[in-house]
Symmetry: C2
Subunit: 429 residues, 2 copies
């Protein structure tokens, strides 16, 4: 190893600082062999106070200059955001033959096909271990090991903020907003948490995992997305009685000629492997036709884990372990059709607040029966509001569009308070 | 990819058949790009009936000829055993510049240092994903990702046979011998299961994981080994009351200038992550200074998972993703001293069968007190044998050699039946 590897870093936020610390340590402990040379770090604000000493750092303001600096071989993009300067930088860098390491799931979920094509054309390395599940080496595990086994399903807890909020709601009985506030104070949630709690961040990640696993083009727009904003404490208490927990899952599945990508709250059996993955932890489960089920669990965010994933990618690059970003050329894609969620089948948890009067329950079960939706379990009890009953129904498997039609009919009943709440049940985890 | 890669396989047992099936499938589905060419499969018995059709297979009897066949670039050693033909074949192949993929943990645990040195000298690829935890890509995850984070501990459930036996003993209340018989009938245990149940197989694996994680030379002889033969059903029932489960763990730890490698039954808290890894499943947990804790769970054995690991290694080889077998040159080893188990500290579970007479308990606690061993919890109850009491003591942390001295003193008491049973408690999992 004599050839120097010129590094340009864009962005010095949480991940950037974490990575920088590790790069320093790596260079110190591998003095003889390390050929990494930090050329520039592009930041928005040169004077900003940071957690690292910036005194001897080669800070610059012109981010896009990284893409054309001949001393830079690899650009490490840690700005974030699917458009704007991150996109411009990555595209221009790749076009100039520079390799890319990024933690930016949004960018790849939106512009992945275009960027990967440029990378492959120019023989550039582009890796994104840090974009999914932080330090858990799941991107590499799929790309270089598991994908040869014909993966049929990949799913997991992909957003630490949501998992933290759901865990605290469940264990401490606090409502969504107050837990969110706590999470923000503790640094587990962003000040603008909407990307997390609306499921968009998890959707970026499951979109990329799906492409990695199934060799389908990156197709974010077809990912169904539902966040955790509407989960209430009552739901946790009710589902517990039926043996379930509530988790926000990202799920990508292949079946025959179809594949699906979705993010939504799920009821999962309390004894299932990932039901116990709590707080800010992430988990990814890969099911394939050869091995069966492989589960990876670890911290999914934070300066150190994410910085570690960037470091591992950089060492891969220095070892010339170049691979196609998705493990196979992006033009060799599988011709799978996207299955819309309305055509998918689920069991459902329904929560209905209705007047505690004769005939209400009969009316509801009548609607379900007419739609050929059969009931697996049910429970009725007094609701906290006097004169109302809380009805919980667990259905057998039924097509989503049929369920939604029946729910609409129930919502139209005069004696129903609020709208029917439903959460999909994810079986066989 | 135009250059053919000539493959020689040694051994066509369970793993060999699993791998062969996958190689066939891979070649079929990657017709245009695959450059794998199967040159020879060396088997002991050419006429043996097998689960794969051998009609068109290039079977040969002369195993060692693989090492000198100029058409063969990589030898896939699936014979097993730490000495004999496997050793000769691998050594000779490496000396002739051929690369190696092996599922043979025994071979590497015993002769790893020698073989890896030859491999590095001759720029040969040598990988062994299949040797540890079957299809779970843990070797690669440590070698190419996690080891840069300064791993402090790696541990896990490394032997599916033992985990299966312990799970069945616990859940079905059957004794060791009858569960072992069931396991053999179901194919979960070998006809000669001693390598598994005595902990030797797990010890081979933890020895290799330790070298991978800490960059210490492969040092099997320093690995402390204790199997599961002496665990009784009574133990499961008793530890449950204290919130524990019993698992056979392989553990490698680094602390200051010391490292330890050991395999023995452990009491672990029922709510710990790997306590729920049951039956034939394996789990590996890696703790490091950057990420924290990463857990990998999956099937650890069987034709398909192990074959899949061999396949992944082969694809790595074909992609020229050559790495040092341990992720770092074997001569750049850390100068760590081995910590003997007698100098390690544990909490202990002690089970004592003593005469149900005045003074017995006092005598035992007296011995413990004199040795400065303090008691955390204890329970005394009638033993199934009339006139005897079963005493369970959970101690606080104490050095193993002190504990063993105290146990010897208790064993010398006249009113003690059998020897004191003890199981180490593994905290902070």
């Amino acid at each position: 190893m004599n050839n120097k590897i010129g590094i340009g870093i864009a962005g010095l936020g949480t991940v950037g600082e974490g990575f920088l610390k590790q790069l320093k340590k790596y260079k110190t402990s591998n003095k003889k062999t390390s050929n990494f040379e930090l050329i520039n770090i592009a930041v928005k604000n040169l004077r900003k106070k940071r957690n690292v000493t910036t005194k001897n750092l080669p800070l610059i303001k012109d981010t896009l200059s990284l893409a054309s600096n001949p001393k830079i071989d690899i650009v490490i993009e840690l700005i974030g955001g699917s458009s704007g300067v991150a996109y411009k930088l990555v595209k221009k860098s790749l076009m100039n033959g520079k390799s890319i390491i990024t933690a930016n799931k949004a960018l790849l979920a939106i512009h992945g096909n275009e960027l990967i094509k440029i990378a492959e054309k120019n023989n550039c390395f582009i890796s994104f271990e840090a974009a999914i599940a932080g330090g858990i080496p799941v991107v590499k595990a799929i790309r270089e090991n598991l994908k040869f086994n014909e993966i049929t399903k990949v799913y997991g807890i992909l957003n630490g903020t949501c998992n933290y909020i759901l865990t605290k709601m469940e264990t401490e009985g606090k409502d969504f907003n107050s837990v969110l506030k706590d999470a923000q104070n503790l640094g587990f949630a962003e000040l603008d948490p909407s990307f997390d709690i609306k499921g968009i961040d998890a959707a970026h990640k499951i979109t990329l995992l799906s492409s990695l696993a199934f060799n389908v083009p990156v197709n974010f727009s077809s990912t169904y997305i539902e966040g955790i904003q509407n989960i209430e404490i009552d739901d946790f208490n009710l589902v517990r009685e039926f043996g379930y927990k509530i988790k926000l899952l990202g799920i990508a599945k292949k079946k025959g000629n179809f594949y699906e990508q979705r993010v939504h709250p799920c009821l999962i059996k309390s004894e299932s492997e990932i039901a116990k993955v709590d707080n800010e932890l992430n988990a990814v489960v890969i099911e394939d036709k050869v091995i069966g089920k492989t589960t990876l669990i670890g911290p999914g965010a934070g300066a150190n884990p994410t910085g570690a994933a960037v470091s591992a990618d950089l060492i891969d690059y220095s070892r010339k372990n170049f691979n196609f970003p998705l493990g196979m050329p992006i033009n060799v894609v599988q011709k799978l059709k996207n299955l819309k969620i309305s055509d998918s089948n689920f069991s459902y948890y329904l929560r209905i607040i209705g007047k505690d009067e004769v005939g209400v329950m009969g009316r509801i079960t009548g609607i379900l029966a007419r739609n050929k939706i059969s009931i697996d379990e049910q429970k009725q009890q007094h609701y906290k509001k006097r004169g109302y009953a809380s009805i919980v129904i667990i259905t057998h498997n039924i097509k989503e569009k049929v369920m939604l039609k029946a729910i609409k009919e129930i919502n139209n009943m005069k004696r129903i308070n609020n709208k029917v709440k439903f959460i999909r049940i994810e079986k066989n985890l």
